[in-house]
């Protein structure tokens, strides 16, 4: 049996705040194979971005990883020195962010930022050619001229393309994309999503897409983890998740997405997400859940297998059989 490319095992992140300790990630586990596309879906504060940052050990202090392991190609990233970790970020695992304006260096040209990421072994002129080639590959028009541009001279969509070119220069085995299209207009979003899918296939990279948008998930990935209150609530192949959701939160999310072509009524999820400072026992979704009973509010809820490659953290998962989101 092949070893997964990335294994996240019982990952925990805590962030001390003046009000108390926020338990941002509470025991997240999943594994991804080489070349696989995977999505972490959830709303603000669900811990999806923090999980990603923790994989790369980019949690801003005073936040810190308080437990768990992250194995990448067999090495435990949590145990690496900062120096070794930098090598991983420089080639193995690369992250692109929602707002490329803040991720790009404002005082370096596009060329300087791409060639910095290209192998030092190559000559200056071949690195320059490489940069042009990468820009052309990510769909930047007139790449020779664009080499000299600064971030502020590019549109939002072009900045995201440049971010992807920089990421590709490192030839990563795993690309982490944190809401890469959220700040973009819908026609540009469609362009960037097509580009990400194409690049992922061409380069054979694995992809973790972090997003709040189930519509985007549907079009891009193979497998999905739905996060809520720092935990994975449901994990399944995309097809199963949309056709046979087995967690009330997933069902609620699917039913609250408006649609262009189906005039079904929207069913909002009542209530608000929980406070992650000292979360109580039981299921964090119970206060908003139509299926919840007393045992949901008191007991520990295990992550159980409900189908082939399909897991749910719900005591009522059996009762949800046959319910669809749509």
């Amino acid at each position: 049996m092949n070893e997964p490319l990335l294994t996240v095992d019982d990952l925990r992140v805590e962030i001390p705040t003046p009000r108390g300790i926020v338990q941002a990630v509470r025991g997240v586990s999943f594994a991804i194979d080489r070349g696989e596309t995977f999505a972490l879906v959830g709303e603000s504060g669900s811990g999806k971005t923090m999980t990603c940052r923790a994989i790369l050990r980019l949690v801003h202090p005073p936040g810190r990883i308080t437990g768990g392991n992250v194995y990448f190609k067999g090495r435990n990233l949590v145990r690496l020195t900062e120096r070794e970790m930098e090598r991983i970020r420089g080639s193995g695992v690369v992250m692109v962010f929602q707002d490329p304006m803040t991720a790009l260096n404002p005082v370096l040209t596009v060329e300087e930022q791409i060639t910095e990421a290209l192998s030092r072994a190559a000559s200056a002129s071949s690195r320059r050619d490489g940069a042009v080639e990468l820009l052309r590959h990510v769909g930047i028009p007139d790449p020779e001229r664009r080499l000299h541009a600064y971030a502020h001279e590019l549109s939002g969509g072009q900045r995201q393309r440049v971010m992807l070119a920089i990421a590709l220069a490192r030839q990563p085995a795993l690309l982490l994309a944190d809401e890469p299209t959220t700040a973009l207009d819908v026609t540009i979003q469609a362009q960037i999503l097509r580009l990400i899918v194409r690049l992922q296939k061409e380069y054979g990279m694995a992809l973790i897409l972090v997003t709040h948008d189930l519509g985007v998930v549907y079009h891009v990935v193979d497998r999905v983890a739905v996060m809520y209150a720092g935990q994975i609530m449901e994990l399944a192949a995309k097809r199963d998740l949309f056709a046979r959701p087995r967690h009330p939160y997933t069902i609620g999310l699917i039913r609250s997405i408006p649609s262009v072509d189906r005039s079904r009524p929207l069913v909002p999820i009542p209530g608000l997400p929980p406070d992650l400072i000292g979360p109580g026992p039981g299921c964090p979704f119970a206060p908003r859940c139509a299926w919840a009973s007393d045992e949901c509010r008191t007991g520990e809820v295990p992550f159980v297998k409900v189908g082939d490659g399909h897991w749910s953290r719900c005591l009522k998962a059996d009762q949800l059989e046959g319910i669809t989101g749509g």
């Binding site: 709303e43 603000s44 549109s155 969509g157 072009q158 207009d185 819908v186 026609t187 540009i188 979003q189 469609a190 362009q191 999503l193 097509r194 709040h212 948008d213 189930l214 519509g215 985007v216 549907y218 079009h219 949309f242 609620g252 999310l253 699917i254 039913r255 609250s256 997405i257 408006p258 649609s259 262009v260 072509d261 189906r262 005039s263 929207l266 069913v267 909002p268 999820i269 009542p270 608000l272 997400p273 989101g325 749509g326």
Partner: protein, 339 residues
């Protein structure tokens, strides 16, 4: 036919860009952003217009011109028969009560140092609505109406979540019982589950209060649920206008077709009509049809002549030479490529 509550005619709002000494020395001509570039429409009482488009298309500027938060350069904004553009600030006051607005980010539009009660009472005081006692009762009633608790009145904006703050923003707009509510991207900053809650709230309030609404949004999915009619804007102009069901069933303008196909739908959406490139800047508006540089179906005529917005199907207007040619029996059939 009833007189429309709101009628906008040939509205134009250009923003001059800074013209520096260097620009003058280099003999660069002064440039302007053509944010709203000749927009006309009418809105019947009790109806909701969805105003859709991407960033920079001028939809928010149009909303602000109607509210007279910006003064338009030219054109008319007739509200209940009166051209608001001709009114002095003092004469506008009664209309400020009849036309209200809800913004995208309620946090930046609420005073963080005032309790919710004070914020709402202030609005009632300014417009001299009710006696002091009645005003306190009205605050409690408003909070209940938007799904909050009267006990929330003594809290500060910081104590609420994004969705709750949007409820407060809506309560403040409704406090003066407006006839026209302009909602500028009221759902964009919210999570999906909360977005659906606020959408439902707007639907309920519209039904119970008989509001006329302009709902400004970049999200066609949301617009479909809330609007009776939809206007699609591109680079400062309305390029298509139709009743909602008609627009989604038979979009005519290539930009609308592309927008609809770009929406990432669960369950698969429409056949993708990829449009390449990005919207040009509203400073250098393309000659001819503004959309032609990105249009997969453009004809020679589109490069030369700017199309007028005209009724090409019953009750359905579009500004497109291609759609017009197709409907009158010439040209390529876009829909054979789409549906």
């Amino acid at each position: 036919m009833a007189e429309p509550l709101l009628e906008v005619r040939n509205l134009v709002k250009h923003f001059p860009l800074p013209h520096t000494l260097l620009d003058a020395a280099l003999r660069r001509p002064p440039e302007t952003v053509r944010a709203v570039d000749g927009v006309s429409f009418a809105l019947t009482r009790g109806k909701t217009l969805g105003l859709v488009g991407e960033s920079g298309c001028g939809k928010s500027t149009l909303g602000r011109c109607i509210l007279r938060l910006h003064d338009a350069d030219r054109g008319e904004v007739r509200f209940d028969g009166v051209d608001l553009m001709q009114l002095t600030e003092a004469d506008l006051v009664p209309y400020r009560k009849r036309v209200q607005v809800v913004f995208q980010d309620p946090y930046s539009s609420l005073n963080p140092r005032q309790t919710i009660a004070r914020t709402l009472l202030e609005v009632l005081n300014v417009h001299r609505i009710g006696s002091p006692k009645e005003r306190v009762r009205r605050v409690a009633q408003l909070l209940t109406q938007v799904g909050l608790s009267p006990t929330d009145a003594h809290k500060y904006p910081g104590e609420f979540s994004g969705g709750q703050r949007q409820r407060i923003g809506i309560a403040r707009a409704l406090a003066v019982e407006p006839e026209l509510l302009i909602a500028d991207e009221p759902l964009s900053a919210l999570d999906v589950s909360i977005q659906a809650q606020i959408l439902q709230l707007l639907l309920d309030l519209r039904a119970s209060l008989g509001l006329t609404m302009i709902f400004i949004s970049h999200d066609l999915r949301v617009v479909r649920y809330l609007s009776d009619e939809v206007a699609v804007m591109y680079l400062g102009k309305i390029v298509e206008w139709a009743p909602t069901a008609e627009l989604f069933a038979r979009p005519q303008h290539p930009y609308t077709i592309a927008l609809l196909s770009a929406v990432p739908e669960v369950g698969g959406g429409r056949e993708e009509i990829p449009i390449e490139g990005e919207p040009p800047s509203a400073v250098r508006v393309p000659h001819g049809c503004r959309f032609h540089p990105r249009c997969p179906w453009k004809m020679d005529r589109c490069l030369q002549e700017s199309p007028e917005l005209k009724e090409i199907l019953p009750g359905h207007a579009a500004a497109c030479h291609v759609a017009e040619a197709r409907l009158t029996g010439g040209g390529q059939d876009m829909h054979s490529m789409v549906s």
